[in-house]
């Protein structure tokens, strides 16, 4: 087994009246990592962190530190993982001056892929038997500027046959990580009861992907296939796509900003005309119904909210007819 864990150390941890303080999370994580280490003797582990302004490796089986003091009551490799991560985190936070710099979660994701790729090329990991996977602990909302890098990493993960699991600890659902988990066959978990974090982790993420087929792991109910537009980085559900380069825009524009293609003026006017005031807010509207549907998903996954969104969206029918005429 080969597991790479990614921790998101962005400042969202500090927005906390959150029910999950970072220290408590670390305790849960340590227990989970111990369980993972104990599950098999040849299980390999690496932990990356996306800190403000930098990405770094917190722990890796390949660069083993040494234990200063050994506790006779503890299994040494458990204490090694815990103490290495704690030391590196302490060093990191004493180094950090500004917390405001953005965290590059996607950069860390690419790091993890490179790490696994290197392990495969050097023969430390065989994709068939080791089932390499990445577990992302995210606390930040979607960063729409990272849309293209995330998509590229998803396809690379598919090529390497790496499963991406996502655990969203705080904040709203992330569309892109949801797609990442869906497309690589991993699980996406939106944490609801923070006290039960460890239970969630062991039930959902401890078993390797091949075993999950026979277990009842939480399934992903609805996957949002929305994309980020290239012009304003909005997340849109109806976009205008350049037929030459497939760039996505949130509104009709005369010239493609990516490939400099000029679109026929008539067509742009036509599209603009069809985009009447009642229609423009459709992205926000649709996303608000989707957001509203999120809390209900645990008890009745994707059933009730489907009906609600059908009826509570008074503009859906007029919108369609207007577009049909245009």
């Amino acid at each position: 087994m080969h597991l790479v864990v990614i921790l998101d150390l962005s400042k969202h941890w500090l927005d906390a009246q959150s029910s999950l303080p970072f220290s408590r999370f670390l305790v849960h994580l340590q227990a989970f990592l111990n369980a993972y280490k104990a599950a098999s003797t040849d299980s390999q582990l690496a932990v990356f962190a996306a800190a403000p302004g930098r990405n770094l490796l917190l722990y890796s089986d390949h660069e083993k530190g040494s234990l200063n003091e050994t506790d006779p009551n503890a299994y040494p490799s458990f204490t090694l993982v815990g103490s290495t991560i704690a030391e590196k985190l302490a060093a990191l936070y004493s180094d950090l001056e500004v917390l405001d710099e953005p965290c590059s979660l996607v950069g860390t994701l690419i790091n993890a892929l490179c790490y696994i790729n290197k392990a495969i090329t050097t023969g430390q990991c065989t994709p068939e038997t080791d089932e390499p996977r990445i577990l992302v602990f995210s606390v930040s909302p979607d960063l729409s500027t990272s849309y293209i890098p995330i998509m590229n990493s998803i396809f690379s993960a598919q090529k390497l046959r790496v499963t991406i699991d996502v655990c969203q600890l705080l904040g709203p659902e992330t569309v892109f990580l949801q797609q990442a988990a869906h497309l690589t066959g991993g699980s996406y978990l939106q944490l609801e009861a923070t006290e039960a974090l460890l239970q969630y982790l062991t039930m959902t993420f401890l078993s390797p992907p091949s075993i999950r087929a026979t277990l009842a792991v939480p399934i992903q109910d609805r996957v949002d296939f929305r994309a980020a537009c290239f012009c304003h980085k909005n997340i849109v559900d109806i976009g205008y796509v350049c037929s030459v380069c497939l760039s996505i825009f949130c509104q009709p524009i005369p010239v493609c900003s990516t490939c400099r293609t000029k679109f026929p003026a008539k067509l742009v006017l036509q599209l603009k005309a069809s985009q009447l005031p009642g229609i423009t807010p459709q992205t926000s509207q649709a996303s608000s119904t989707r957001a509203a549907s999120a809390p209900s998903r645990a008890d009745a996954p994707g059933t009730a909210d489907f009906d609600v969104s059908m009826h509570s969206d008074p503009n859906s029918l007029p919108r369609y007819t207007r577009n049909g005429k245009a």
């Binding site: 590229n152 998803i154 296939f225 796509v241 825009f249 293609t261 599209l271």
Partner: protein
């Protein structure tokens, strides 16, 4: 034709023409041929290639081989410039397979026909992977006729199934280029103007039996902006080369089994679009003189759906009127459709899943080539930024590595010009060939 200046027997320039049976792994065979005579230009590549091979301290050739491999990889990486190109992405391709008696020739193992089918399967899978919005058809050339093997489809399974039924594809008779091209052309005549039309011919024969003048067919193809590419298994034929040049396609002659695959895989990425606003480069006659060169561009309205799970409440789908729970919701009218990409049956919106579009984005925003760390002073980092593996200590590796140059770092370190982080050779390759994003820049 340009010939690479240095000699390495691993590097095979794909631009060379000619026919030979030598493989890269058999320097001896190459040597005897090269000494006896040099009738083919491609052999210049291999001239005195043994001179570059030197043993290292332990008497092994491994370091030289590694070095040559690193050089060829770097050359491949450095080749494309880091600028965004206009590429056609909604592609339509007709694959023309030669199924004439010439394909039973055994100069490639197991024979030309078997190898062609095998490589075609790899090509089709890779093509659909990189062109998820593309469509492909397969046409065979057998007994003087064009034969439809698979009609235009966007399903990779259909195409793979049709070319894996070997008993239906037994080679016989003479091929007819004209008949097959006409068939392919008619299959693509209805396509919208913004879609690309391409024909790829895998041609084993040295003859073609045509009912009329093939030059008329070539003219018609050039007029319809159909790009014809040929991979010839036997030798260069004038009509094939002319066909490719007229339609700005690519022409290549296979040198050995590995080269065959390389030639095919070169045709997988979407071609840069011709006839763009800058003066048309190739085949510019009909294309760029047209008053509106950008007539083919379109702004398409597309919707990105929500996928419903198996556990959702069952509802009727609009496409088959079947009661089922899983499906996709049209973002505009919230109708449920079974599969994407498709057009919504209620409101007509084109529904695609965004990963379909995103698969081609790396062609648009390529990562710039990394610079080479050549001097000891430049090497700062302890570990590769991407994979976090420590670099080998400089003192020892500096002695062993033969000097830099040719885009290879003596210390195995490469630096991103934007974020100035250092990367190892493996990660350099992986970032440029697979991920297409620099981890340091996050883009």
């Amino acid at each position: 034709m340009d010939v690479d200046s240095d000699d390495s027997d691993i590097e095979i320039s794909s631009r060379n023409k000619g026919k030979g049976k030598a493989t890269a792994k058999k320097p001896k065979a190459i040597r005897t041929e090269a000494i006896s005579a040099q009738p083919y230009t491609w052999e210049e590549n291999f001239a005195r290639s043994w001179d570059t091979v030197t043993e290292d301290a332990t008497g092994s050739l491994q370091t030289t081989v590694d070095d040559l491999q690193a050089r060829s990889r770097r050359r491949r990486l450095l080749h494309p410039s880091g600028t965004a190109l206009r590429r056609t992405i909604i592609r339509h391709l007709v694959l023309l397979l030669d199924l004439s008696a010439a394909m039973a020739d055994r100069d490639m193992r197991p024979n030309r026909w078997g190898l062609t089918l095998e490589h075609a399967r790899v090509f089709v899978a890779e093509w659909y992977d990189q062109n998820p919005l593309g469509q492909m058809a397969v046409v065979g050339m057998r007994a003087g006729l064009g034969e439809r093997i698979c009609s235009m489809t966007s399903s990779v399974q259909d195409v793979l199934k049709s070319i894996s039924e070997k008993h239906k594809l037994e080679p016989s008779g003479e091929p007819s280029l004209q008949n097959a091209i006409e068939m392919a052309r008619s299959a693509m005549s209805h396509l919208p103007s913004h879609a690309s039309r391409e024909i790829l011919i895998l041609f084993g024969s040295l003859t073609t039996v045509d009912p009329g003048n093939i030059h008329d067919t070539i003219d018609a193809c050039a007029k319809a902006k159909i790009r014809i590419s040929v991979v010839a298994l036997a030798a260069e034929m004038k009509v094939c080369r002319e066909m490719c040049e007229r339609t700005s396609g690519q022409f290549g002659v296979v040198m050995n089994e590995g080269h065959y695959k390389d030639l095919l895989l070169e045709l997988v990425p979407p071609p840069a679009q011709v006839g763009a606003s800058s003066a048309g480069r190739i085949g510019g006659d009909a294309v760029s003189t047209a008053p509106k060169a950008n007539l083919s561009a379109d702004l398409l309205m597309m919707g990105f759906p929500t996928r419903l799970p198996h556990s959702a409440m069952a509802a009727l789908c609009v496409c088959h009127s079947e009661l089922k729970s899983e499906g996709f919701l049209c973002p505009r009218c919230l109708a449920k459709v079974c599969d994407v990409p498709t057009d919504c049956d209620v409101c007509g919106l084109m529904i695609v899943s965004s990963p379909h579009l995103a698969r081609s984005y790396h062609h648009l925003f390529p990562v710039g080539a990394f610079t080479v760390v050549t001097t000891r002073a430049e090497a700062e980092a302890d570990a590769c930024f991407a994979c976090a593996r420590p670099f080998p200590p400089i003192a020892t590796s500096g002695g062993a590595a033969t000097g830099g140059g040719d885009g290879v770092s003596p210390y195995g370190r490469y630096r991103c010009p934007k974020c100035s982080r250092e990367f190892c050779a493996d990660c350099d390759l992986f970032v440029h060939e697979v991920i297409h994003c620099c981890p340091g820049c996050g883009k």
